[in-house]
C-alpha cells in the first residue's frame, strides 16, 4: 500500500511539473510586449520601463524565467499581476472561497439528484419512468451550463424573486442563498452523466448472479437494491463523479460569469483578455494541482477499498 501511494505521488509531481512547462510555453510563446499590457499603452519613460523589465525578470531568457517562476511557485509565491499590481496569491486567496463553495454545493446537489435518478431508472428499466427521466437528463446535459444558469435566473430570480440574481453575500451561510442558483445550474450539467453511469452499473449488478440468488431466497427488494447491488455499483460512479468535480471547477467559470460572482474564474477570463500572464499562469497551475490532488486522493481511496488495484 505504502509503495503504491509513493508511486502515485511521484507520478503526480512529474505530471504537474510537465503541465507547468506546458502552461508556461503556451502562455509565453507568442511574441508580445508584456510592458504594454502593464501600462495599457500609456507612454512611459525609459527608466520606468527598465525597472519594470527587471522587476518581472523579463530581461532573462525564457528558460530562466520559467525556473524563477516555478521555484517561487513551490514556495507559494506566484508573482505579481501585471495589471492589478497585486501578488497573484492574494488575488486568488480573495476569490477562491466563492469558487470552492460553488463546487462543493453543486457536487452535493449533483450527487443528491443523480444517484436516486440512476437507481430508479435501473430498477424500472425501459419503463415510462425510465424513459421520461432519461430524456429529461439528456436535455439537461445538452443544455450549456450558462444557458441553464440564465433560464434559472430568469425564472427564479427575475420573475419569482426567490433568489438574488447576481453577486455574493458576505458569510458562508449568506452565500448558501446567493450561490444556490449558480450551484444548481452547474449541478444540472453533471446530473445526466452521473445518473447514466449509475443506471448502467446498477443494471449490471441487478442482473448478476448474487442479486438473483438474494431475490430467490426472498430478501426484501429494498435490501437487494440498496445494500447489495448499490454498494457494488458505486465504484465506477465515484470515478466519474471525481472527474466531474474537476471539470466543475471549469464549469464554475461559466456560472460565475452569468451570475457576476467574482470568483476565480472571472479573474482568469479577464486576465486572459488583458494578457495578464502571471495571473493566467498562476490560476491555471493552481487548478491543475487541485485536479491532480483530487485524482490522487480518489486513486488512494480505491487502492484502499479494492486490493486488486494496488497489486496491479
Amino acid at each position: 500500500m505504502f509503495r503504491y501511494v509513493l508511486k502515485r505521488i511521484v507520478q503526480m509531481i512529474l505530471i504537474v511539473l510537465a503541465a507547468s512547462v506546458l502552461i508556461f510555453v503556451m502562455v509565453r510563446v507568442t511574441p508580445s510586449d508584456p510592458i504594454a499590457s502593464m501600462t495599457k499603452g500609456k507612454r512611459i519613460s525609459q527608466e520606468t520601463r527598465e525597472a519594470l523589465v527587471r522587476q518581472y525578470h523579463l530581461d532573462k531568457s525564457q528558460p530562466e524565467q520559467y525556473l524563477i517562476w516555478i521555484k517561487n511557485a513551490i514556495r507559494g509565491d506566484l508573482g505579481d499581476s501585471f495589471e492589478k499590481k497585486q501578488p497573484v496569491t492574494t488575488l486568488i486567496a480573495d476569490r477562491l472561497p466563492t469558487t470552492l463553495q460553488i463546487v462543493l454545493m453543486s457536487s452535493i446537489l449533483a450527487l443528491l439528484l443523480s444517484i436516486p435518478i440512476g437507481v430508479l431508472c435501473a430498477v424500472h428499466m425501459n419503463s415510462a419512468v425510465d424513459r421520461i427521466l432519461s430524456s429529461v437528463t439528456l436535455i439537461l446535459v445538452a443544455s450549456p451550463v450558462f444557458l441553464t444558469g440564465i433560464v434559472l435566473s430568469l425564472i427564479f430570480a427575475m420573475k419569482l424573486r426567490w433568489f438574488p440574481s447576481f453577486g455574493t453575500g458576505k458569510t458562508f451561510v449568506e452565500n448558501l442563498r446567493y450561490l444556490f442558483l449558480p450551484s444548481l445550474a452547474l449541478a444540472f450539467s453533471m446530473v445526466a452523466l452521473i445518473a447514466r453511469i449509475t443506471r448502467s452499473n446498477m443494471i449490471e449488478q441487478l442482473h448478476s448472479g448474487y442479486a438473483q440468488a438474494a431475490v430467490a431466497k426472498g430478501m426484501p427488494r429494498r435490501t437487494v437494491i440498496w445494500k447489495h447491488c448499490f454498494k457494488n455499483a458505486l465504484i465506477p460512479v465515484i470515478t466519474v463523479a471525481s472527474i466531474q468535480i474537476g471539470t466543475m471547477v471549469v464549469g464554475a467559470v461559466l456560472v460565475e460569469n452569468v451570475f457576476a460572482l467574482g470568483g476565480i474564474g472571472d479573474v482568469l477570463i479577464s486576465s486572459i483578455k488583458s494578457s495578464d500572464y502571471p495571473v493566467v499562469q498562476g490560476i491555471t497551475l493552481l487548478l491543475v494541482v487541485l485536479f491532480a490532488l483530487i485524482n490522487l486522493i480518489v486513486d488512494i481511496v480505491y487502492a484502499w477499498i479494492d486490493p486488486r488495484i494496488r497489486l496491479e
Binding site: 450549456p144 444557458l147 452569468v258 491543475v288
Partner: protein, 312 residues
C-alpha cells in the same frame, strides 16, 4: 456480454427478438434525430435563400423589435433579424464543431493506430502526452491555449481539437490492440504488405464503427464547448456570430425579449440532443448485444418473487 449467455433466466427467447430487431438502423429516435439534424443543416446551408435579411447589417429602427411577421423571432440590439442570425450563427457553430472533430480525427487516429500496433516506446510517449493533456480539467487547456495564441475561432477550434485528442487516441489504441492479433492481420503481414497499408486498409476499417459513434458524440460536446468559449468571449469575435456569442449578447435583454437568449440556446439543445440520440442509435446498431435486457421487475418475477408474495 458473456453475462447474457450464462444468465440464469431464459435469455433464449430474448435472442429471438434480438435477431428480429438486428439490422434496424432507423429506429424512432434515430429518425427523429435525423430529421432535426437535416433541418438544422439545410437551414444553415441555404440561409441566404431562406432569409431576406443580412446577418451583419445594422437596422436601428428595428432595435429590440418583438416577434412579428416582419421579424419572426424579433430583432437584436442593433435591429438585426434574430432568425437570420440564428441560421448564420449555426453555420459558424457547426463548421467549427466539424473542424474540432476533423482535427482530432486527423491527428488522433494515426497516433492511436501507431500506439496500439507498435507498442513499446511509441506507445509510452503517446500515452504520456495524453496524460499531460488530461491533467488539465476539461476546458482549462483550451483557455490557456487561447490566452497564448490569441482569441479567435481558429484557435478555439485547434485548442478543443487538442483537448479531444486523448479520448480518441485511447479508443483507437484499444481497438487496434484487439485487432492486431487477429489472423487477417497476420495474413496481410505475411503477404508482405507494408505497415501503413495494414494499419489504414486492414485494421482501420474494422474499427470504423466504434470511431464513428464516438465522433458523433464528440461533435455534440464540441458544439457545447465552442458555445462556452464564445460565450466567455474567447471564441468568435464580433461581428461574426455563433450560437454561444448570440447567447452572450442576448442575456442583457432578458426582460425585454427573452428569445434573444433562449432561441440560440434552444438551437444548441436541439442539435446536441439530436447528435446524442444519433450516436446512441449508431452504437446500438453496431453493438446489438447491448440492446435488450429484462427489467428488474421481470427479474424478480422470474426469480419467483411475485409467487411468494401471493402465498405470503
Amino acid at each position: 456480454m458473456n453475462k447474457d449467455k450464462y444468465s440464469l433466466f431464459g435469455h433464449r427467447p430474448m435472442i429471438k427478438t434480438r435477431r428480429r430487431k438486428e439490422g434496424r438502423l432507423f429506429t424512432v429516435p434515430m429518425v427523429i434525430s435525423l430529421v432535426i439534424l437535416l433541418t438544422v443543416i439545410f437551414a444553415c446551408i441555404f440561409a441566404p435563400l431562406i432569409s431576406p435579411y443580412s446577418p451583419t447589417e445594422q437596422n436601428l429602427p428595428d432595435s429590440l423589435a418583438l416577434p412579428s411577421m416582419r421579424h419572426l423571432l424579433g430583432a437584436d440590439k442593433v435591429g438585426r433579424d434574430l432568425l437570420t442570425r440564428l441560421f448564420y450563427g449555426g453555420r459558424t457553430t457547426l463548421l467549427s464543431a466539424i473542424g474540432v472533430v476533423a482535427f482530432s480525427v486527423v491527428v488522433g487516429v494515426p497516433l492511436g493506430l501507431a500506439a496500439g500496433y507498435y507498442g513499446g516506446i511509441a506507445d509510452v510517449v503517446i500515452g504520456r502526452v495524453c496524460d499531460l493533456v488530461l491533467s488539465f480539467p476539461s476546458l482549462l487547456l483550451a483557455f490557456v491555449f487561447v490566452a497564448g495564441f490569441g482569441r479567435s475561432m481558429a484557435n478555439a477550434v485547434i485548442a478543443l481539437g487538442i483537448v479531444y485528442l486523448p479520448m480518441l487516441i485511447r479508443l483507437v489504441r484499444s481497438l487496434t490492440l484487439i485487432e492486431k492479433n487477429k489472423t487477417y492481420v497476420e495474413a496481410a503481414g505475411s503477404i508482405g504488405y507494408s505497415d501503413a497499408r495494414i494499419l489504414f486498409f486492414h485494421i482501420l476499417p474494422n474499427c470504423v464503427s466504434s470511431i464513428i459513434s464516438q465522433i458523433t458524440l464528440d461533435l455534440a460536446y464540441a458544439i457545447l464547448d465552442l458555445a462556452s468559449l464564445s460565450f466567455l468571449g474567447l471564441g468568435v469575435q464580433p461581428p461574426t456570430a455563433d450560437w454561444g456569442a448570440m447567447l452572450d449578447e442576448g442575456r442583457n435583454f432578458l426582460l425585454q425579449n427573452p428569445l434573444l437568449a433562449l432561441a440560440p440556446g434552444i438551437a444548441i439543445i436541439l442539435t446536441v440532443v439530436a447528435l446524442n440520440l444519433f450516436s446512441d442509435g449508431l452504437h446500438q446498431y453496431f453493438e446489438p448485444l447491448q440492446r435488450e435486457l429484462p427489467s428488474f421487475d421481470k427479474v424478480e418475477k422470474r426469480a419467483g418473487k411475485k409467487k411468494e408474495a401471493v402465498y405470503g
